[in-house]
Amino acid sequence: MVTETTTPDITAVHASLTNVKETRGVAAFRIVNVVLLTLITVLTVYPFVNLLAKSFSSERYIAAGQVNLVPRGFNLDTLNYVVSDPMFWTNYKNTVVYTVLGTIISMALTTTYAYALSRRNLKGRGVFTGVALFTMFFSGGLIPNYILVANVLHMRNSVWAIVLPGAISVFNLLVMKSFFENFPAELEEAAALDGMTTYGVFFRIVMPLSKAVLATMTLFYAVSMWNSWFGAFLYLDKKDMFPVTVYLRNLIAAATQSAESQGAADTVQIGANIQSVTMLLTVLPIVCFYPFIQKYFVSGVMLGSVKG
């Protein structure tokens, strides 16, 4: 905080913040701050509002580029149209199932792996960390991956092909590991002295005290699982198993391909309003989910990185 005052001690700053009459520096800072943040907010919110407006507008106005913030030619037909497609709901349900199951599996594996790695007395700790780290930089490539999952593990067309490969994100693992490493050793020692086993310490001491990092990781996993489509593209052949992201992708990506590759009689003609409604419905749960978990999100990532 740079101000014109000669004594920049904490009481002065505090006074200047609460005082009705602010110094010029603080006022300027506030104005810049508000303008900048408003701008960023507008930039972030505008696409959502626009999407909302398009969802309830008629195709004609969208094509003419006349829909910005308010729907024009208001109608609910598009919404009804999308909602009445049973495949949309089947895929939506799949996404929920994949996300819940995937997040549970990911969290179970990541927390236990990270906790074990954080113990300094773990034998072969370097090797186990190295194994994880290696996958962060090298991968077998697409076709070998596909052959492994589809033909060796026989997980093609099953939910496991979606939730198991990539269940552990090494980045998340490392964040969690350093969080656990900074956990006060005394606490665990005390619990051990009182007769708790390693599992007892983990489940009844460490976990309840790690809500912040757990919430953050849950959010990370859940959002990436919700948004993912590539696994489904690779390993699923049955339409009724697709997640909603593939459904959405088909509406949008297909419509933007050049007409040449399809033959004009088969040109994709999906209305911009149908795309908008589908996007809106897909993004909605995540938008609702975010605010409730956001407070952990901020403290959680910081916690992992600050050494005590």
Partner: protein, 554 residues
Amino acid sequence: MRNIRRRTAAVATLATLALAMTACSSGGGDDDGSSAKGGGNGVTIDDAHSKGAMADYKVGTTFKATEPVDFSLMYRDHPNYPVKDDWSIFQQLKTNQNVSFKRTDIALADWDNKKALLIGAGDAPEIIPLTYPGQETQFVSGGAILPVSDYVQYMPNFEQKVKDWGLQAELDTHRQADGKYYVLPGLREVPDVQYSVVVNDDMWKKAGITTDPATWDEFAQDLTKVKAANPSIKYAFSDRWNANNQSLGAFLQYVAPNFNTSAGWGYGNTWFNTDTKKFELTGTTDAYKQLVTYAAGLVSSGDLDPEITQTDDQAIQKFVTGKSAAISGNTQEITGYRTKAPKMKMHLIVLPGGPAGSNLAAGQLTAGQMISADAAKDPHFKAMLQFIDWLYYSDEGLEFAQWGVKGETYTKDASGVRKLEPNVGWNALNPDAPKKLNTDFGFSNGVFMPASGASKDLLQSVMSPEIKDWTNAVLAKKKVLPVSPAASLNEDELEQTSLLDTQIKDAVMAGTAKFITGQTPLSDWDKYVAQIKGLGSDQLVQTYNDAYQRTQDK
């Protein structure tokens, strides 16, 4: 061994998926170049693989398997008509043909990538539809695709249509180095005409123009007049289809044949000069320069919007809101423009001619089927070939795939005119009907028929009178350019040229766009030619000429 080869080939073809992977291609020899030369000496299918096949299947026979058969099918799921298990087409094929499918559903957006993945991993279903001739080349060396030319003697309808419609020469250009072809293309009786310029009638009338231009030069003059008569528009012509660094993809494609060259979407690096009997690099020929000069002239005279990187939506927006008077369109898109601007009068102009005459690009083959090599091990292999022949190549099968079932979806009167039932609609036919031929019944489905048509009669049966008249006018006026002869590159040559081909094509596209917008003056043409040569165009052309010579000598 074959599996390994497949995987390696797939790694190479899947580079588009752009995952971190290291592609190493097999340096293996040409050991799989088979001794059997294509053409007459086909392969005989033994009894063990003829289960369910009809003994006396010939042209005119309705195919029905003698026992229920189940084929695996790679299914392209189109967002306009998402697949439903209870579609009439599936029930009909089951009842009347004894055929059912094990489907692998692939969303349209992922079609090419997933197709490559499944073929590469050796998991491809038996029938792989919607493959454009030329796309099969990348899979040939992997060994996963059947050299179908060995078996066409089991496909009487296919053979007959190729003969009747004079398509053998074009089909021959798709033979690989081993002399066989690996794709059963969709066959068209007449060339494909769909694209042209859509003009705003009122604005053109204002300029006193009531007839379509006879040449592209006249079209340019018309644009100038239209702009003068309508001061509210900034550019008379603002065009779309600029994606993937191919500016004016459609426009250049349909103008090019009239300059005796190829450009835009239709661009290919090699152009066969019928006088010298040699391949040349298309992008550096005089004809191509002439075309580029023409397009650049449109921009410099202020008739064509220099925004030739704008998105489709931007261009359409300008047209439907009356900010421009012309845009590229096709026989389907014009319906889309009309829904977006219901009050505007517009029409597709009959394609004008150019300095090289009034021509259409060669090519009457369209997307068709590949068959997986594993299908030959299916006990029902022969039945499968007969079924494919019936569905995609017989008059009866084609009519069924397009129109559905007489009495259920359509009626046909004594003179052969087909009409959809009043409660069934498709595109411009019965647009307000509660049910759709494709969405609710599964017919007129690009998976089960060549989406851009087969016989002229069938093709025109689904056209609105306006489009039919336009198509006939274009076909009557135009001459089809000859097909470039085959130059079957071998595996090594393909590998060497594929990289050259891409980089030269990219450079030509970039150069073309710069000349058109005036960013580079046309006086720099020689510099541009030198740049293309620097990228190895001579080597590319030489390889084609060598391969052509080899094919001729055979």
